[in-house]
Subunit: 256 residues, 2 copies
């Protein structure tokens, strides 16, 4: 049965999409059947993998509204073992529309049930907010992977996120775990980065991934070619870091 991991942090621009896209690609490259679900109306994960947001669909919007099955909306990703459930701008209205629907926070969980037997990992790329779309992802997930920048505002956001995690566990998903906190755009030369890293490692022992994702220009260039970084520049520091992360996730989830 698939492990569903929500890649989430309501702080903006911390590397959620970059992590969801590249981790999914690396897990697939390791021959683990992986589905990447884009539940962000911006649809960056969809376009970051070169998938159109203009075609007839269906998209995640139709799946959440019960008009299509998840398996009907999945399309091929850049690597054989990778499939993508794409998002388009129809999702922009979904939060207000979902607010009036029965079982509004369970829609994604129900939709993904049919996929669980066919995949090893299902990653969900979340928008930078704590609204109904993110709540759907947190209710459907077995664990959360939290990308973090080593900066002051990002640290402030972490306490918000952990408060939300407690609320979600109490009301919607008691078994929700933390897969790990992942440092992104890390630059060890900057004292602010080193201080934040030490601070978080001390306060969250055993919860921080060993892998640190460095700031790497190749990671921000790859999406303009619609490719994950391992297909854009396999020798880059960014590609190496996400391959290491994939190895850590596989080791952790298979209990080795």
């Amino acid at each position: 049965m698939a492990r569903v991991i929500a890649v989430t942090n309501q702080k903006g621009g911390v590397g959620k999409t970059t992590t969801a896209v590249n981790l999914a690609a690396c897990l697939a490259a390791a021959e683990k059947r992986t589905a990447l679900v884009d539940i962000d109306p911006q649809g960056n994960a969809t376009s970051g993998l070169g998938i159109s947001r203009e075609g007839p669909g269906p998209y995640i919007y139709e799946v959440l509204m019960g008009e299509a099955k998840a398996s009907e909306a999945l399309c091929a990703g850049a690597i054989p073992a990778l499939q993508v459930l794409p998002s388009n701008s129809a999702l922009l209205g979904a939060e207000i529309e979902l607010a009036a629907v029965e079982g509004r926070e369970q829609r994604l969980k129900k939709a993904l049930e049919e996929l669980l037997p066919d995949y090893t990992y299902i990653l969900v790329d979340c928008p930078p907010s704590l609204g109904l779309l993110t709540l759907n992802a947190l209710t459907a997930a077995h664990s959360i992977l939290v990308p973090l920048q080593c900066e002051y505002y990002a640290l402030e956001g972490l306490t918000h996120l952990l408060t939300t995690l407690r609320l979600v566990r109490r009301s919607f998903n008691p078994d929700l775990e933390i897969e790990g906190l992942l440092f992104t755009m890390y630059d060890g030369r900057l004292s602010l980065n080193r201080q934040v890293l030490e601070n978080v490692r001390r306060n969250f022992p055993g919860r921080v991934f060993q892998t640190l994702i460095p700031r790497s220009i190749r990671l921000s260039e790859a999406p303009s070619f619609g490719k994950p970084v391992i297909l854009y520049d396999l020798r880059s520091a960014g590609a190496e870091a996400y391959l290491n992360l994939a190895k850590e996730v596989i080791d952790e989830t298979t209990g080795t």
Copy 2:
């Protein structure tokens, strides 16, 4: 009468808060009476100026819900001519609560009316989403200032934002203008940054601020001291850039 400028972009982490805080501080340093309204539940602009989010309030939440006047919630900023309307986590539930309220998108506009005669500028720091909180800011504003990173995903978000702008003009605020597009974290050595800059300047002639905000570590350190960068390190490249931006905004709005 104050000019109300919404600092907005639904793409996360592009420098909205850093711009709102530092532009407000620089306008105040130029002796223009300025109010900074924080309408982001994360409350980064509030803490970035060293203001507590734990005190009794009132905060922007009470103002939007009609339980307090804006003038009662304003508190002193770091510079004599600067005041701040702070945000706290009570705002997290506001989008769903506001959805059921009469005139839900006009709440901020109505609340700010009493402040217009007393200020030259009112800046509003928006969250990274296109929900009711951002809609309130776009309805209250005379113009929008859009921070942009020179990266692929940020460019994609621009088309979303411009579609939203057309919708807001049609339904809520026909006179909403574009104050300008502002490039942040700019590094001229990176070809991706140069390409995006040329692309946007070509497609939005006369709409892009001359000032380019460089990537400057002092800008990301200043918030951990609760200070705008001009009080943290006046000689830094970040401080100089925001002082230039303030001059550009003043020249543009006073028609010189």
